[in-house]
């Protein structure tokens, strides 16, 4: 690891001022599970690291107007085990429980995970189908961004220089919605997904009302499977309709060949796991 200067601000304003002052030369660090590995591999060459660990008020789960508010410094493990998260959005607790191992989930923060923007991470597809958004804070103020718009490219988020992700907000799901998160893990239990799919649906009188589908590990960013959704919304739910809709995901994904499989294999698995996810939220009684 190269030498760098470490800052340990104790207020958010102080942290934002440090990010403004050092610009591209500074990187925030929270849990460190991603950042320390990037530093070790010289993939991050920042001269300044802004440690967020001592910032107050950014950890914990609360509810306002039916929405869950999760502080950016909350650990993955806290989201997984939070009774409030389990009661409000069990899909979210499930997605966070699938990340790596207990040890990593004790360390990795919600904000750090999302801004790392690794397309194979577990939480983003679920957050996308839950219509979650994040709060970004800079010295100029705050703005909200849907999680669907947070990811720009491999390991690249939409955060501007000087911005910190400070909160994750998850609205109430539609009444009667069914949800599922499927993670294809052909190698080891603690691995990143080879392909992952999250889905949320409501069905009334056999007609698909709400349908949201998102995939991870199938391209440069997690994606909403809009073609799949368009094929089902307002339609009669039948096994044939589900099968045809799942096939439409093949043209939406752009996977990389790597040690988890070839691009063709992952495209096939995206179809298979999308179909299984749709069957669970649309056809299972």
């Amino acid at each position: 690891m190269r030498d760098f200067i470490y800052h340990a601000p104790t207020t958010i304003d102080e942290a934002l001022a440090l990010l403004d002052e050092h610009g591209e030369d500074a990187r925030p660090i929270a849990g460190g599970t991603a950042m320390v590995n990037l530093l070790k591999q010289n993939m991050v060459l920042a001269d300044h690291l802004v440690g967020l660990g001592k910032l107050p008020g950014l950890r914990g789960v609360s509810q306002t107007n039916g929405s869950l508010h999760i502080g950016a410094l909350s650990r993955h493990r806290e989201v997984e085990l939070s009774p409030e998260v389990l009661a409000h959005s069990p899909l979210l607790a499930e997605a966070y429980s699938k990340v790596a191992t207990v040890r990593v989930r004790n360390m990795a923060t919600v904000g750090g995970g999302l801004t790392h923007a690794d397309p194979a991470q577990d939480p983003p597809p679920s957050l996308m189908v839950l219509d979650a958004h994040v709060v970004l804070t800079s010295s100029k103020g705050t703005r909200e961004l849907p999680v669907s718009d947070l990811f720009v490219d491999y390991y690249e988020s939409a955060l501007e220089p000087g911005e910190l992700l400070t909160e994750l907000v998850v609205p109430q799901s539609p009444k009667g919605a069914k949800t599922v998160y499927l993670k294809f893990l052909p190698r080891t239990e603690d691995d990143y997904a080879t392909v992952s799919v999250a889905a949320l649906a409501t069905v009334e009188n056999g007609i698909c009302q709400d349908i949201r589908v998102a995939l991870g590990a199938v391209g440069p960013t997690p994606i909403r499977a809009t073609a799949v959704e368009a094929a089902l919304k307002g339609q009669q739910v039948t096994p044939d309709a589900v099968r045809a809709a799942a096939d439409a995901v093949a043209d939406q994904v752009d996977p990389l060949t790597d040690f988890r499989g070839s691009d063709d294999y992952k495209r096939d698995m995206a179809v298979v796991f999308t179909r299984r996810a749709l069957e669970q939220v649309l056809l299972a009684s």
Binding site: L49, V102, R103
Partner: protein, 157 residues
């Protein structure tokens, strides 16, 4: 002005003893333990947080000391393998690993025992599935998993 090779004062409590150490910002916690404090019970193996050999407790929770910066641990309460026994009296888990052949080459053992201790402290009677779920982040390249499982289950209540 601070320069990149400056030293930082880190205050940590390790196994109940306070320590003040001066380290560069890039010092990992496992290196602080092994090289600054000569506490070599904690092992570094994969160096990327995957294998579990460097597992310590930070404020009571298992963490990978190889991907934790020492400066991040400032103010923390840390438990290492050296703090598991009560003086000369082995912890029941340590005795169980001896009795049931829970280690072969020994490199992963410190991490296995610290992780298992954390499990049993919060869940004294885990099921076999709960032990597997908790311990899957601690790899044993001698593949002595059956004996490790047996050691932990026999030490549980």
């Amino acid at each position: 002005m601070t320069t990149a090779d400056a030293l930082y004062t880190v205050n940590v409590t390790i196994n109940g003893q306070p320590h003040e150490v001066k380290v560069p910002a890039r010092r990992t916690l496992v290196d602080l333990l092994r090289y600054d404090l000569d506490m070599t019970g904690t092992k570094e193996t994969c160096s990327v947080g995957v294998c579990g050999a460097c597992t310590v407790l930070i404020d009571g929770e298992i963490a990978a000391s190889c991907i934790t910066l020492a400066v991040q641990a400032d103010g923390a309460n840390i438990t290492t393998i050296e703090g598991v026994a009560n003086g000369e009296a082995l912890h029941p888990l340590q005795q169980s690993f001896i009795d049931h052949g829970g280690f072969q080459c020994g490199i992963c053992t410190s991490g296995q025992i610290v992780a298992a201790k954390s499990l049993l402290d919060s869940n004294p009677s885990p099921t076999e599935d709960e032990v597997k779920e908790w311990m899957m982040g601690n790899l044993c390249r001698c593949t002595g998993y059956y004996q490790i499982m047996e050691s932990i289950l026999k030490a549980s209540k």
